[in-house]
């Protein structure tokens, strides 16, 4: 399989900060690759190095061996949507696209076509300053599509979109892939992208954590199972659990998660100890759990435990440990 994008031993030093370090991965042609990592993990810096906006400290970032700046009429080959703020507020949407088309050597007929593709035809003559965040994201996509590129790079395109917008974005990306285009899409939330991507590249603190296919990752996720139990008798349950070799953790005042437990084992166990249960959930590990465990604790903007998402942030207790 040939690669649309090749990142080799890429590094970026900002002063004393190593934003990206020895990063290597590939984006396969005709597939959608999710570029995932917590906020501040170096995704945007990597994409900007790839696009020639940020200088490379070490290594290479190329499109089939050619640097972005060396491409002939680059926007005809690579379309990039980087941030929703980069418009002149007083300029009309179609004038913005026109100026980009002219500079990029793209036919002006593409202006109306791309506005149509992202559903902004009716506001073509409106000043971008009056656009909502979602409309700006669409205009950013229209800008990326102007040159009818075979490679698309989207940096956090779901940010600021409402649920319908995200749904539209997903089908848009799948549609691009069905036309044989390669898409590299970054996100700090795997759940946003898990229905959309074929491959995943996960980075944390500027280095590669995992490159795999979504299918492989899903297989890995299925192994991490457990039981989530809500009970008014937490103390009695933990006392009972102390006698058996299972790991558990308390995730709320009245809720425990028991790793590796099955309902077939836990049901009789609770009955035997006569413990009252309010809720008994068989938890299959989600992709998001795998993602979080791989990047655990490295989110520069949201320290672990601050968001209360799942039991990952609660302290882990070995069997028998005092609560």
């Amino acid at each position: 399989m040939t690669s649309a994008i090749e990142i080799r031993s890429l590094a970026k030093q900002f002063g004393s900060i190593r934003a990206v370090d020895d990063l290597s991965f590939e984006v396969a042609q005709g597939r959608v690759t999710g570029f995932l990592g917590p906020n501040g993990s170096g995704k945007t810096t990597t994409l900007r190095m790839l696009l020639g906006l940020v200088s490379v400290t070490e290594g290479t970032a190329t499109f089939g061996g050619t640097r972005y700046v060396d491409l002939d009429h680059p926007i005809r080959h690579v379309g990039a949507a980087l941030e929703a703020t980069s418009f002149h507020p007083a300029r009309r949407a179609e004038d913005h696209l026109k100026s980009v088309a002219l500079a990029g050597g793209v036919s002006l007929s593409r202006v109306d076509e791309t506005l149509e593709m992202v559903g902004l035809t009716e506001v073509a003559r409106r000043r971008v300053g009056k656009f909502s965040l979602g409309m700006r994201q669409r205009l950013q996509l229209a800008t990326a599509l102007l040159g009818d590129p075979e490679i698309l790079i989207l940096d956090e395109p779901a940010n600021g979109l409402d649920p319908q917008g995200i749904q539209w974005l997903r089908s848009f990306i799948r549609n691009q892939a069905s036309m044989g285009h390669s898409v590299l899409v970054s996100s700090h939330l795997l759940s946003e992208m898990e229905e959309t991507v074929d491959d995943v590249v996960i980075i944390s603190q500027g280095t590669l954590v995992l490159q795999t296919t979504l299918a492989d990752m899903a297989a890995q996720a299925g192994t991490g199972t457990g039981m989530r139990i809500r009970t008014p008798e937490v103390r009695r349950l933990t006392d009972a659990l102390a006698a058996v070799p299972v790991a558990w953790r308390q995730v709320a005042v009245d809720t425990l998660v028991i790793d590796g437990a099955t309902p077939e084992w836990f049901g009789p166990f609770a009955a035997h100890h006569q413990i009252v249960l309010y809720e008994l959930i068989n938890e299959r590990g989600s992709l998001e759990d795998v993602f979080l465990s791989l990047t655990q604790g490295f989110d520069a903007e949201h320290p672990p435990g601050a968001d209360g998402r799942s039991g990952q942030s609660a302290p882990f207790h070995a069997p028998g440990a005092p609560t």
């Binding site: 941030e83 007083a90 004038d95 026109k98 100026s99 980009v100 500079a103």
Partner: protein, 269 residues
């Protein structure tokens, strides 16, 4: 390169700033013309003619009519080259202010090309601004002269003597503006530095060291505006028109080259 210039021209005309700058330049030029007529009306009445109109010895009419007077009047708008400079500064710093530079660099990843495209577009805009001001001056002053019984055609006749120098100066200062803007990409800082230099610092330096006058941008502008009076040495010890033009161009290119080098290394985050 033509495509890049067309893109820059589209960017320029689709925002309101260039039009506002043109408007302010026109208003100020109008005030200059008004001032000229007021002053001329007070002092010009009893002057003795120089013989250019064959009326030697007779009192002159109150309106401007000698060749030099007509040329002075038509060239009233020359000082508006400051707006041409600001236009050049804005054409590049606006990209950084609104972060549109990301999109621009994606379409034109070679940054020296980006700066050259901006310079050509700014030069065209500067020339257009000079033409607009000349036409406005011609119409405004011409009508005023005609009302007082003078000749509109006499004023129009001097256009060929004034226009080339004025257009040249406006073009050169637009280029200088892009040069300054490519080096100082912070819009507010660039504007303050430009205005501070031309409105305050330059006159201080000139007053302290008189010999600097011909080397300073304003002195070079006065010299360059003299394009049609080539060969005649200016009384202020300025350069002749092409030396003055080269000097402004050199200032602009020095800024643009340093600016392009700095810009080429700059990370757009």
């Amino acid at each position: 390169m033509i495509a890049i210039v067309r893109s820059e021209w589209t960017k320029l005309r689709t925002t309101s700033v260039p039009w506002i700058l043109t408007g302010i330049a026109l208003v100020i030029t109008g005030l200059f013309i008004l001032l000229y007529f007021v002053l001329n009306g007070q002092t010009g009445g009893g002057q003795v003619g120089t013989g250019t109109d064959g009326s030697f010895g007779l009192p002159h009419p109150g309106y401007p009519h000698t060749v030099q007077q007509l040329r002075d009047l038509l060239g009233r708008g020359l000082g508006a080259y400051i707006f041409s400079l600001l236009l050049g500064v804005l054409i590049i710093t606006t990209e950084f202010r609104h972060k549109t530079v990301t999109t621009s660099f994606l379409a034109t990843p070679r940054r020296s090309q980006f700066v050259i495209g901006k310079m050509i577009a700014a030069a065209l805009a500067g020339a257009l601004l000079a033409c607009i001001i000349l036409v406005a001056t011609l119409l405004g002053a011409g009508i005023a002269i005609a009302v007082e019984g003078g000749s509109f055609t006499a004023l129009f006749g001097q256009l060929g003597a004034v226009a080339p120098g004025m257009i040249l100066v406006f073009v050169l200062f637009a280029l200088l503006g892009v040069g300054v803007g490519s080096l100082i990409t912070n819009q507010v800082a660039a504007i303050i530095i430009c205005l501070g230099w031309f409105l305050i610092l330059e006159s201080i330096i000139e007053a302290l060291w008189h010999w600097t006058a011909k080397w300073l941008p304003s002195g070079a502008a006065s010299a360059a505006a003299n394009v049609t009076a080539s060969g005649r040495e200016s009384t202020f010890g300025l350069f002749n028109w092409w030396q003055g033009s080269l000097l402004i161009l050199a200032y602009g290119l020095v800024f643009a080259v340093i600016g392009s080098v700095v810009l080429a290394r700059r990370d757009i985050t």
